[in-house]
Amino acid sequence: MKIPQAQASRLAHRARGALAILIAAAALILGPAAMASAVETPAPTPSASPESIEIWIRVAADKSNVPNASVLVTGPKGFSQTFVTGPDGKAFVGLPRAGDYTLLVDNKSLPAGKGTPPSESNPRVVTVSPGDVEDPAYFLLVPGGTEPSVPGSTNTPGSGHHSSSGNNTDYGALVANLTANGLIFGLLLALASIGVSLIYGTTGLSNFAHGELVTFGALTGYVLSGVLHLPGWIGIVGAAVAGGLMGLGQDAALWKPLRKRGVGLIPLMIVSIGLSLVLRYLYEFIFGSDQLIIPSDSHAAFVLGPIKFTSITLISVILCVVLLLLVAFILLRTRIGKATRAVADNRALAAASGINVERIIRLVWVGSGVLAALAGVLIGYYQTLRWDTGGSILLLVFAAVTLGGFGTAFGALVGSLVIGLVVNLSTLIIPANVQNAAALLIMIIILLVRPQGILGRRERIG
């Protein structure tokens, strides 16, 4: 992939400039003391972010540095950026957060005749723990890429250096990559959002414990393929089954009795918050607080212009689309789907016309559990997995559902895609660690202009 360094740095510069103006304006308002402190503070640089990776590419034979090589770095929460090595063969990668980052050296950007990194070390996953600075990611080029490299070898890392030699810059490629990441993330989000939306539609519950259904699926996939080393498809199928059972169990053990007691919607919401705390920290209790990795083949299996898909990403996208089409088919064409929509529309009327409302709600819980668990296991593959993976996307799910219109399944899909795109494309203009804030802000703004959401109906906002 070609590098948008010049543009990106220009953009970053502009954003920083705007910020500086803002701070200066605030300083003017707040008086001379404020001014002094504003002047004293040095201009923030990209290296101000706490965690970082240092990339160093050299030729194995003579240890000569390789400049102008581009490396695609992808990581949690849709982080995806390309870095170019400087004259010393190094590139400094400032990161928004700790996590597992995948580094892929673009072999086409390497000088001809010097070889390529061995295929087993390219792409490479670098685990960045909180507070790590300049985690080494060293690549040695060997002819034909056959010999194993020596990761993190001999030399002590020098001072990191943000590449500036973007001679083949390509802003379009970055936008294309972020758009692709956004759509993929949006599809994954949609799997989780549809469940939230259907549960809300049929029972009125804003389920704050939905993120824990997502994590549950991801952890099931991790146990099956990461711990027991079963094939990946068993992990995915197992997660779906376990998620369905979890949904069924939750409804039978908790939500149905509470509905029977006639507990109001707000207390139900608070119960779901309690449940989410219990489950989330039980996961941490069992699995610890570190990143977990579901093994997968991270080679680029499919290349579309500047965008590379690994095989698991490709499978995820296909699976998402098939599942979403299936949900649409069930909702629109089957008796169960019609009954579900009838319950969501008017529960009393549906019950009066002979629909078994409790049975529909049970089915919705099972279906939501399956979809959420699949979202979880695919997110586990696509990004990384932790005890709070689901909890950390919960608000994005709510934003997606609110955006699309509460209680409408298709609104949830549209909202999810919008949120996925916003989260990824916003990194073009704002720092990556506030990308989620951008999505939440968009949600608040939409509520201001169109409170019923994109596809919602006005009477629902009451």
Binding site: P42, P267, S276, L277, A399
Partner: protein, 324 residues
């Protein structure tokens, strides 16, 4: 066996953290318990108030009083930003918008670009200077055993208790006043109050402002003896406050105060007992696994409270906002 944790748990009764959470939960009770607003952004109000206070006092060297005013102003502005778009909408929209706004605040203050002002992920230290400057208590150590406080600890505890007492009196009088009857009416039946010609929207906004200002003041008490850490204002803080408020009674003035004391004493006791269990291998868990347990306990407490005693310890059943 080291039983000093019993004393530490006892000390939680007057710890600045307990006082601060009591005050913030009191603010939450004004919003949620008395007015019926689902404010899930109380942690956001705490963060805004805390940052306004710490930035103005540490970076701009404002006098203590002006920093407190800045903190209050920050909470008022935040209440307007949240309230204007959402108070006309259905109740759960307010829930989602407030929780989202609180998270936006947390993400934003952690941005490296504005770290010179907000301290980034490290937060802000040393906002206690202005407060300690007019500490009348002579230098020394007060108390006994593990419960020994220096003059600055004692000063913040005394001021915190005084502020909380004044705030509780204020809320108590407020809820006995015509204003209080109107907001309780809004909680019970918004349309009926509107039919009486009251501006429901404006009353809700005032309740949100009062709740937010109390949270901002609470956080000043919270950060003075320690420091301001952005990740202390995640959603879990709001949920702690809900648990505290519901524990004591959401529709009472003393409930949040009692709730906070019980909450922190119990958590402290649980931590102490778990530590002993780990130390003497009574429990098959490691020290690292101790941390999550307190959150599991809080979650279970929250669920049981809502299901079995929604009015809390001090509340009246008929006034429970969501009588089951």
């Amino acid at each position: 066996m080291d039983l000093s944790f019993l004393w530490l748990a006892l000390g939680q009764i007057i710890s600045p953290q307990t006082i601060a959470y009591a005050l913030a939960a009191l603010g939450l009770a004004v919003c949620f318990g008395f007015t019926g607003l689902i404010n899930f952004g109380q942690a956001g109000f705490m963060a805004v108030g805390g940052y306004a206070f710490a930035i103005t006092s540490v970076h701009f060297h404002w006098a203590f009083g002006w920093s407190v005013l800045a903190s209050i102003a920050g909470a008022v502005i935040f209440a307007f930003i949240l309230g204007i778009p959402t108070l006309r909408l259905r109740a759960d929209y307010l829930a989602i918008v407030t929780i989202a706004a609180a998270e936006i605040v947390r993400y934003t203050v952690k941005t490296p670009n504005i770290a010179p002002v907000t301290g980034g992920t490290d937060g802000i230290n040393g906002s206690s200077h202005a407060f300690d400057a007019f500490n009348p208590i002579p230098v020394g150590r007060y108390g006994f055993g593990v419960l020994t406080y220096d003059q600055d600890d004692l000063w913040i505890i005394l001021v915190g208790i005084a502020v909380t007492a004044v705030a509780a009196l204020f809320v108590w009088q407020l809820m006995r006043s015509p204003w209080g009857r109107i907001v309780k009416g809004i909680r019970e039946d918004e349309d009926a109050v509107r039919a009486l010609g009251k501006n429901v929207y404006w009353y809700k906004m005032q309740a949100l402002i009062i709740g937010g200002v109390l949270a901002a003041l609470a956080n000043i008490i919270n950060i003075i003896p320690t420091s301001l850490q952005p990740d202390n204002y995640g959603t879990q803080t709001t949920f702690f406050l809900f648990t505290i408020m519901l524990l004591g009674g959401a529709t009472t003035v003393l409930g949040p105060l009692v709730g906070s004391i019980i909450f922190w004493v119990v958590l402290s006791l649980a931590d102490g007992i778990l530590s002993l269990g780990v130390q003497y291998h009574w429990l098959p868990i490691t020290q690292l696994q101790q941390g999550p347990i307190r959150f599991v306990l809080v979650g279970i407490a929250l669920m049981l409270l809502i299901i079995f005693r929604p009015q809390g310890i001090l509340g009246k059943k008929r006034e429970a906002y969501f009588g089951a």
